[in-house]
């Protein structure tokens, strides 16, 4: 629940993100920040807009976000951020004397958070979402981070808020749901909705891609893309679709660094598989299959369809249950998993 007190700055509020910007209300910065925040963007994106505009345009600002993937406060100039932890202890953050800005994490047990910039006059009014002229924004986060602490872990050693430079510490995690999904290294962010079984789905899906349940109406959120399923090889192994996959007689992928595709070597009796034969590519929520210019071609058999030869180098949508044949006896099937 969020409230604001009218004043001389501009408050932008949506989806557990609160900005208080010391700019003229008509400024283009306000419109762009609103577009970003409304779209579920993180504070890095907001910061880039402000930095791009220059500090002469946005002298003081306070940005706060409190969601599973980002619990963070950024402030500059005369802006002040206050917070109250679960223990009831208040804390104030200021950026006095800091040339750039103050950027710090938020503990996940914050109960109340306020942002102030310039004068604030009058009574506090409610504001769930939108843009108003304000001097102060107050967010009350009674239900934080999905509720009960993880019983697995005593909290005694977790420092959360403190300066933590020399000892390795673990980040305060968000909701217990965080552990529900496997996120690949450097997985791109996607907009998602969740089914009642917590499977992630594309924003506009009608039924869950994993379990088929109807998706309840909800606001989409931004998450690292979950694995989109598995490839079941003709030899029985499963390859997780947490990154692209190149299959062939001897694919070379390691030169491309940590974001490179899996490389799967397939051999068969006929020896008719090309070195880099076919790639399964992840594009947003889509799974595509591309023949990489193989000598003998690639055939796709979608459920209920007759076999189709792939046109070389042209990505085609791969539907769940499809079998992709590289050569005699060498094939894989794409399956959706949770």
């Amino acid at each position: 629940m969020t409230g604001y007190v009218p004043g001389g700055a501009v408050a932008v509020v949506a989806d557990r993100t609160w900005l208080l910007l010391g700019v003229a209300p008509g400024s283009d910065v306000v419109r762009r920040c609103w577009e970003l925040v409304r779209g579920g963007a993180g504070l890095d994106d907001v910061l880039s807009v402000i930095v791009h505009e220059g500090f002469r345009a946005v002298g003081s600002f306070a940005l706060a976000r409190h969601v599973a993937e980002e619990r963070r406060v950024v402030l500059r100039g005369a802006a002040v951020v206050g917070l109250v932890g679960a223990d009831g202890v208040p804390l104030e953050l200021r950026a006095d004397g800091v040339a750039t800005w103050v950027d710090t994490g938020l503990p996940d047990d914050v109960v109340e958070l306020w942002l102030a910039a310039g004068e604030a006059r009058g009574a506090e009014l409610p504001l769930e979402r939108g843009v108003v002229v304000a001097g102060r924004v107050v967010a009350r986060l009674a239900v934080v981070g999905g509720g009960v602490p993880d019983q697995d872990q005593p909290d005694a050693d977790e420092t959360g808020w403190s300066e933590r430079v020399d000892e390795t510490v673990v980040r305060h995690s968000g909701s217990p749901d965080d552990t529900r999904h496997v996120f690949a290294a450097g997985a791109p962010k996607v907009r998602a909705v969740a089914c009642p079984a917590r499977h992630l789905n594309p924003e506009h899906a009608i039924a869950c891609r994993v379990c088929g349940q109807a998706l309840p109406p909800q606001e989409a959120f931004v998450v690292p893309r979950p694995p989109l399923g598995v490839l079941r090889l003709s030899t029985g192994e499963l390859i997780t679709l947490d990154r692209n996959v190149v299959l062939g007689r001897d694919p070379r992928v390691t030169d491309r660094g940590a974001d490179a595709p899996h490389g799967i070597r397939l051999a068969n009796q006929g020896n008719d598989i090309s070195r880099n034969h076919v790639e399964v590519r992840l594009d947003g929520w889509d799974v595509l299959v591309v023949d990489l210019g193989s000598k003998n071609g690639t055939t796709v058999i979608a459920p209920g369809w007759s076999p189709q030869e792939l046109a070389k180098l042209i990505p085609a949508i791969l539907t769940p249950g499809s079998r992709v044949v590289l050569g005699d006896g060498a094939f894989f099937t794409y399956e959706v998993t949770g």
Binding site: G42, D44, L47, S48, G105, D150, D152, Q153, P154, A156, D157, E158, E163, R164, V165, D166, E167, T168, V169, V170, R171, H172, S173, D178, T179, V182, F183, A184, A185, G186, L233, S234, T235, E237, L238, I239, T240, D242, R243, D250, P251, R252, V253, T254, D255, G257, A258, D259, A260, H262, G263, I264, R265, L266, A267, A330
Partner: protein, 255 residues
Amino acid sequence: MAEGVRAGAATDVGRVRASNEDSLLVGTALFAVADGMGGHAAGEVASAMAVDHLRALDGRDDLRPEDVRAALAEADHAIRAAGRAHPGQAGMGATATGLGLVRVAGSPHWVVFNVGDSRVYRYADDVLTLLTVDHSEAAEMVATGALTAEEARYSRYRNVITRALGVRVPSEPDQWVFPPVPGERFLLCSDGLTGELADDEIAAVLRAVADPAAAAGELVRRAVLAGGRDNVTAVVVDYGHGGTSSADTAPRTTP
């Protein structure tokens, strides 16, 4: 050691820490580094548990990538359980990062795995490539452009890790599967090494020192000389360099 594989390792407590909380595994086909955290020697316990669960897999000739994933999940549970059972070990955890030979579609493949901020590099054709993505706040900020890689080295977010075994953060490993290429060399290391040595210096040592154990020793020695602010561990794994399949009798020639 598996056909065509040679490996060697070195570890040092460094100049600041009282104890070495790193653990390492040099198996026949599975290699790992684990960096423990938690006070009163608990970090050592956690990293040793992580490595022990992986060691139990080593030597299987039908090892699959999902076996590695399962072993890391078991280690995660075991470390949590130990933390609950022994108050002195509450909150302990470990990173787990490494490399193993697995069988996929009837032929050997490497699986690189990572939970936390230890790293795997590949050195081949005189190019050093980082194969893992650190699970740290600093790395996430670099990925979003909020920090440059250089700024990240000094950032206060550097030591805040976002995944680990045994603690209240996600423990899912990243995995990457690819076929082995003769002549390649891998370096597995804890952040105590990469915190002290720049990539250029790491590459120079991997280029100059042919024997894997000697290369690991030289990397650790240099990291301790450069400051040794944390425990330092390095495992060097060579594939298909010719010569014998042994941990310590390598010819001293440049690969």
